[in-house]
Symmetry: D2
Subunit: 101 residues, 4 copies
């Protein structure tokens, strides 16, 4: 089962700048060879369910190891079995409609 | 690593009433012996990371098997390593403050 | 247009205990006479769109005034026009199904 | 008060393809002159609180008018008062760290 997620990791108790933790998460998705794309409020990640979830767990473990005592993460998570659909497919289907009207 | 999540599962392509799918998810959390509590917009679930995540995956698989072609789930996910904290602890700390002032 | 939301407010840059800010949010929902119910990972709030959103804005303003430099909030937000549905209706429809099988 | 949101609108009861509704939301953000950027699992929108929230309300009203009986939206919403920060600033701060190590 493939999954597309959008993940936003917020370490707490480490001040207001959290970019070094977000950077680390990018490296973890990279390490797991997961297709991923960062935006201003999270990161889209795509791949087999178990691989994606293992990477998410590693993000939490690593960010705790970096010193964050508490982490609050928000994940949107989509699966579909009617047909394959990549992150790019989702964007294309809206972009086409925007251009056609 | 223990985790407290809040999960809201929205099957798509099955009409507007989704309570039978939500009911099934409750049974899955029950089956996994996870402490869980439903509210009007999701379910709080508490337990070891791997058990909770295995239950979430089983929810998706089961709801697809029930006929939903597409599922859109939202998860908030909290871990902390400074001290143990249960779902009830979180509610109590706010309730006390509400009563004391 | 009525709305049911689930809101989780996370002040950043104020340490790891955020219960005093969550307590303040409860008082704001109370002040606006909005039906609301706290759970371990957020608060359900129900009412007219504009009143609910005015309360959400007041939460952010008040929590900034209390000293939080940054706030990260997650909101799930449901509207429906086919029929009225309260927070309790949503819970009841699942509870009934759980008992009937 | 400026806000950066990430919004994901899921119409229910209209089948599994929802791109025409997402397209309409893009047009509404455009019409309100809000800086916005779509990704595979939502749209980042940036601007004054009241303008952004008026656009979100208009999305719900318009998508109901298009025939969706029920809508389930997820919003992440960030405000900060310590310093101005745009959507691009957030991305840049991570991108720089990724390149420097």
């Amino acid at each position: 089962m493939n999954v597309i997620i959008d993940i936003c990791i917020v370490p707490m108790g480490v001040g207001i700048s959290v970019s070094k933790y977000v950077t680390q998460a990018q490296r973890i998705f990279e390490k797991h060879n997961l297709s991923h794309s960062m935006h201003a409020y999270g990161t889209n990640v795509e791949g087999p369910w178990d691989t994606v979830m293992a990477a998410v767990k590693e993000c939490h473990q690593t960010i705790h190891d970096m010193g964050a005592p508490r982490i609050n993460t928000t994940i949107k998570l989509g699966t579909r079995i009617d047909r394959p659909q990549s992150m790019q497919d989702k964007i294309d289907s809206v972009t086409e409609k925007l251009q056609n009207q």
